[in-house]
Symmetry: C2
Subunit: 175 residues, 2 copies
DNA sequence: CTACACCCTGGAGCATAGTCCAGAGTCAAG
DNA sequence: CTTGACTCTGGACTATGCTCCAGGGTGTAG
């Protein structure tokens, strides 16, 4: 199990970031949030990471993608680094994620059904309404909340969606 | 079309809120965000809403539940109040929501599949690992990102999910 | 010596739809 | 007059996982 990474042992923040496919800011952020053990420092105060940090970051990214939160990971990794085996907790956390995902899936499906019905109704309304005349589309939503008594969750999702829909600037910078 | 609401005409903030099923803070918020036209004021500075405000709030809640954002609604309602007929825009906005919802649905389904596979793999690992020994569950996620190169959206969803999962304090206050 | 690339830190910003707060005024009943 | 229920305002706060910034230091090639 000798480290076979192509880069020489002590990695600086930027190197580690490039190899792991994240931004230097993210590396520093992970260290601050204890997802990465505190790096050694050079005389000048530069971070010097061991090669294992690359794998660690990949684990973190994978876990985040799976739905774990930074603070959950913090606790888990902390225990693991102390020699503990938080496997059961990890498993049950993942099981919770699955339950949550399934419930969201149901919400989204209901939402999709509602949107489709709404669009169909609106198209009917629009067809029998003159151009430039108001069809009162929104008004048909007034009594609609059979969505349950908590439109908030949907609204929240809605916002994250509209963000995902539109802007994707950033990225692209280096050589 | 005479207002048949049971309460006397000029509604104060709290009355309107109770009738419409939202909090007084929310009523003021909607007014500030121009979802509600500016209310008349009594001599003391209290808001005095017309009975129509109830319906307006219901429309807003319905639209929010359908996925419209406050600022979209602001623009739409503003134009409608000026006598315009933003129906086409409303319709196309809703169509966009549908597209977004469907795409999220696909993401969530992929996520669910991944979680299920992960759990199955982990259970296999756990079975052949002694109690209290580390099974390296998280490590199996390191190379997993076939989720695409953007775990962010998932992570974001994850967070909104965990919030939805756990805490639902507040509410309950009145008589 | 001078670019130029890279590193550091602490802190603000993002984006949403509210919620909650303090400090202060209003109003009807008792 | 006091109590209690209500109202007002402007602003801070919530949650997340980064991202970006200013202001300043480091390292090295030319």
């Amino acid at each position: 199990m000798k480290p076979s990474t192509s880069a020489r042992e002590p990695l600086r923040t930027g190197e580690l970031a490039r190899i792991a496919g994240v931004s230097p800011d993210t590396v520093r952020y992970y260290e601050r949030r204890s997802l990465l053990p505190p790096a050694r420092r050079t005389a000048a105060g530069y971070r010097a990471f061991p090669a294992e940090a690359v794998a660690r970051i990949k684990v973190v990214r994978g876990a985040l993608a799976a739905g774990f939160s930074v603070s959950e990971l913090e606790a888990i990794l902390r225990e693991r680094d102390r020699g503990g085996a938080p496997c059961r907790r990890v498993r049950s956390l993942a099981a919770e994620k699955l339950v949550a995902v399934e419930s969201h899936l149901r919400d989204l499906e209901r939402w999709r059904r509602e949107l489709r019905r709404t669009l169909a109704r609106w198209d009917r309304l629009l067809r029998k309404t003159g151009r430039g005349k108001r069809a009162g589309l929104l008004d048909t939503l007034a009594s609609s909340p059979p969505i349950g008594r908590d439109p908030l969750r949907c609204a929240r999702l809605g916002s994250s969606i509209s963000r995902a829909t539109s802007g994707n600037r950033r990225r692209e910078r280096g050589s």
